[in-house]
């Protein structure tokens, strides 16, 4: 999968320490900001939080996928954290794997959307999740996502 434009080791924290959902989101957004992927951090944070209020992004099985299409995104990106210990995401329980999807609203880039859709299918695949848990360095997470061949569905 061609995902190198959207993720790199700097957008991954495989041992994030956080006590709350808000802290996780804020730390993930900080990674995006630091890597020059946002135009407006405050606006993007607002867009993500609004999205959180409209529909649960707790997907069960310990995974959350907060996401927003936003004018405040410079480059569409995926940022990932494996939490040191699970945090309460919402009334639907705890999570310890979090993918934040930041999509540039203006540039309707079908290949980026396809990448996100493919990644979404991996996240209901137990083998992929197990690999996410086992990997201990950011570069290998990027390689996993790039090279993963899921079961043909």
């Amino acid at each position: 999968m061609k995902i190198h434009e959207m993720i790199n080791p700097k957008l991954i924290n495989i041992n994030m320490k956080a006590d709350s959902k808000n802290e996780v989101i804020s730390k993930l957004i900080y990674l995006l900001e630091k890597d020059g992927r946002l135009l407006d951090k405050e606006q993007f944070t607002k867009d993500v939080m609004e999205r959180e209020d409209s529909m649960s992004t707790n997907m069960g099985a310990m995974i959350a996928i907060p996401h927003a299409k936003s004018k405040a995104v410079r480059k569409s990106s995926v940022v990932f954290a494996h939490l040191e210990s699970p945090v309460e995401w919402n009334e639907e329980g705890k999570v310890d794997l979090v993918f934040l999807l930041a999509i540039n609203e203006a540039q309707h880039n079908v290949s980026h959307l396809e990448t996100i859709a493919t990644l979404a299918t991996y996240l209901v695949d137990d083998d992929f999740k197990k690999a996410l848990y086992d990997i201990k360095d950011a570069a290998s997470i990027v390689k996993l996502i790039e090279n993963y061949k899921g079961e043909e569905l």
Binding site: S54, M55, M59, G60, H67, L113, I116, A117, A120, L153
Partner: protein, 104 residues
Amino acid sequence: MKIIAVTSCPMGMAHTYMASAALKRSAKKKGYEIKVETQGSMGIRDKISKEEIQNADILILATDVATLEPERFKDSITYKTTTSKIIRNADSIVDEAINLVENK
């Protein structure tokens, strides 16, 4: 047993495609034929044909926003659910949908 399904969600980015994959995986495991149409940010993908609708035993409708071209399915036996429920527990959704047909 032939299943057709449609998935969609407000952003059309994650839930739509996770639910589609979860349904396919579950149906495959249980030995059912399945076709899933996604109505997401890339528009309609894997569109279900008239013939597939006619041949299907059950429609699993997991559209969290208004279904596109819903008139196609007006005669289908329909099990209505949500993408979140499928993502969390596709196996029981598939079982419940199949029960609906078998009890008709």
